[in-house]
Assembly symmetry: C2
Homo-oligomer: 180 residues x 2
């Protein structure tokens, strides 16, 4: 199959939230995810991450990740959603969007499995009807306030539960297909 | 045990939300709950409701319920949280709060199992540290907008997952103990 006839890449979201739907404290802190940390339990993340060839992340996620001791996306295509030009030092591609244009460029470039991360970016790709599956790991805590996963721009969308699993830590992981 | 030494009544929340945390559409409509309707499946509600001797509901929930063909709370004590006086026609008690005072009055009156319902009321009782357990049935849909379960006033609170169950309809029901 030539790249011009390749299928749209499959687009996944895989994220942890508090029961009240926050992905971070108001200042961006994710220290509370420690509640779910268990030796030898990664909630399926390594397997998921291996399956992915391409990351689409927001500018804030990108800047957070730049502060990590190691670049976590070696071996993946990385698209950073940003309306401004930035200097990427790990081969990142910067794109202002809209989401459909990003996905079309990735399709032509041979992307097959895309992992979309960051609250604003997730919402804009949900709004564009591009997200195929959505894995939410609910951490057993109410944060009360913080940065929400959903909200502004999220469309009305029926979901189909693909699986649900609970863990000793109290995490409940739900995987949904987004039915367009 | 005399009523003056009776224990604080056990306080439960039991509610359905969309995956994005809404309990109703912006206009209060709950038609989307039909997604989860299955012949012979009540998601444990009848058993839970039987166990309850007392309802605490908000004024909006009360006014909604008044429009039902039958009063749904026969045989239960009903406290309506309201800062204004209303005329109750089913023996309802009106109380302006705060939550701790309502619970103390219910304790003295012999209440054992309380069911707290309505978004504003749930949040104020969570904020007061009075909710003992929290059952959330996640309906497989993104509503995009609506009346949120959580938000304003919800405190930081660790939770302990007591059970998690998924259903053929795609509903995932999680029950948590609120650890004060």
């Amino acid at each position: 199959m030539s790249e011009t006839t390749a299928a749209k890449p499959f687009c996944s979201v895989n994220i942890a939230t508090s029961l009240d739907g926050f992905i971070a404290r108001p200042d961006g802190a994710i220290d509370w995810l420690a509640i779910a940390e268990r030796e030898g339990e990664d909630y399926g993340f390594a397997e998921f991450f291996l399956s992915v060839d391409t990351m689409i992340i927001g500018r804030k996620t990108w800047q957070t990740v730049l502060g990590f001791p190691e670049w976590p996306y070696y071996g993946k295509r990385v698209v950073v959603m940003s309306s401004e030009a930035h200097a990427g030092t790990h081969g990142e591609i910067f794109h202002a969007g809209p989401p459909a244009v990003v996905i079309e460029a990735l399709r032509l470039d041979g992307a097959k499995q895309v992992y979309i991360d960051g609250g604003t970016t997730i919402r804009s790709f949900l709004a564009a009807g591009i997200v195929d599956d959505l894995t939410v790991s609910v951490i057993p805590v109410l944060l009360g306030q913080g940065i929400p996963l959903f909200g502004e721009g999220v469309p009305l969308a029926p979901l189909a539960l693909a699986s649900s699993q609970s863990f000793e830590s109290g995490v409940v992981q739900m995987k949904y297909a987004v039915t367009h």
